[in-house]
Symmetry: C2
Subunit: 249 residues, 2 copies
């Protein structure tokens, strides 16, 4: 395509996909760092200060490297984020799935996904259009969709799995929403309250928004524990799934 210089970066014409790009070439001095180490550092920063704080320079500083050194391991920041996503997917433990009990399996998956997203809230906000195809993500696909695979055709399986995913995503977003928004804004809790709350209070007092008023009131009431509420929602989704299964499954 175009002439290459005396050296080229880690990505060449055929190896654009991270997952096909070997981490370690054959010859030369031993690398001082590793993809795993960089990914780990980036996740640590993102957990603490949000994904936008995980800049290349910051990540490099975290592991004691120069900024540009990272590019010896990762073609771009987007690719690094791909690595982070796969690494986090690996935190969802699905060993032994499918087990034969599809309700138990899907419940386990929902719990695991929720727990992972609560540990790494920035991840719940960072939804790509297509699922990644890293090793952990591939394993997840095989195990998760293997649960319903013997019971329904693949297109049904896709739809039902998407439904479950959608529910978990919505539920987690509701759980972590306020906290994330607060962190993102960089405001103190008092400031944030003063601003958002004052506006919402005004809306409620206006009387033009009866439903919003109900929602606000509801939010101030004591609730079932988050876990209970989530389990309840998952059970409902699974009932919906059961209805789509052939009878007697």
């Amino acid at each position: 395509m175009y002439a290459i210089g005396e050296e080229e970066t880690v990505a060449d014409a055929e190896h654009v996909n991270i997952w096909t790009l070997p981490e370690r070439p054959a010859r030369g001095p031993r690398p001082a760092y590793s993809r795993a180490q960089i990914t780990e550092a980036a996740i640590r920063i993102a957990d603490a200060e949000g994904l936008e704080a995980a800049t290349m320079r910051r990540i490099a500083a975290e592991i004691g490297a120069g900024a540009m050194s990272l590019y010896r391991y990762v073609p771009s920041r987007d690719d690094l984020i791909e690595l982070m996503a796969d690494r986090l997917t690996g935190e969802i433990d699905l060993t032994g799935v499918p087990s034969g009990d599809w309700r138990a399996d899907l419940t386990r998956y929902a719990d695991g996904l929720r727990a992972m997203w609560r540990r790494h809230p920035w991840m719940a906000a960072m939804r790509r259009s297509l699922p990644g195809l890293g090793p952990n993500q591939l394993l997840l696909i095989e195990r998760l969709m293997g649960v319903l695979d013997p019971l329904v055709p693949i297109d049904e399986n896709l739809a039902l799995t998407a439904l479950l995913n959608g529910y978990v995503e919505g539920a987690v977003r509701e759980e972590i929403g306020a906290a994330e928004e607060l962190r993102r804004s960089g405001l103190s809790e008092q400031e944030w309250m003063a601003r958002g709350q004052a506006y919402v209070d005004r809306l409620v007092k206006s009387g033009d928004h009866p439903i919003l008023t109900k929602i606000v009131m509801e939010a101030r009431r004591p609730h079932l524990s988050r876990d209970e509420q989530f389990r309840l929602g998952v059970r409902r989704v699974l009932d919906c799934v059961a209805a789509a299964l052939p009878p007697g499954a």
Copy 2:
């Protein structure tokens, strides 16, 4: 809090929320542009080239203004995005909802939301943690949740609505996913195919990913029309909703 200069930007201490920030002050020369005009231009650019292309300078150029002029109308780019989101929410036509027929109403909402996201694919990717509270968004909340409000308690209503939203989001993401990913990458279709496809083909040929193989095969088969498929999914979700309603509703 802190001393202000001889002039201040559009945002002051009490007016941080966009929705409480008046667009037009009393005195001074007539503004040459407007929030609506700026929002419109930004949406036009985002539709054509993605949200990341809608930079302040680019938007300003689109309406023939200087870059910094926009800040006379909008406190920050994030706030402008908030305006865009509300403006797009207004495209979901729910006049006459709730009508008394909850299935029809929710189906109409699902169709409208899907159509809106397909017209503005960047919006489907840009999910904030909390829903916005602009005028169109408030109206949507009242109408949409007003549908089930007479039938179920508010917490149930929230859960069921989230379920429907989750389904639509997943379905739309699947529809527009490939196209968006392609655009985001900036590659030509051939390049993108060559790269993604080659990797997927390798995975399929390896034989270690039976489910992925099924998915890929399925994607190559002719389908029900997208619309049919979507309607089917919505109906399933609504059946799930019906199960949660009190008998005879």
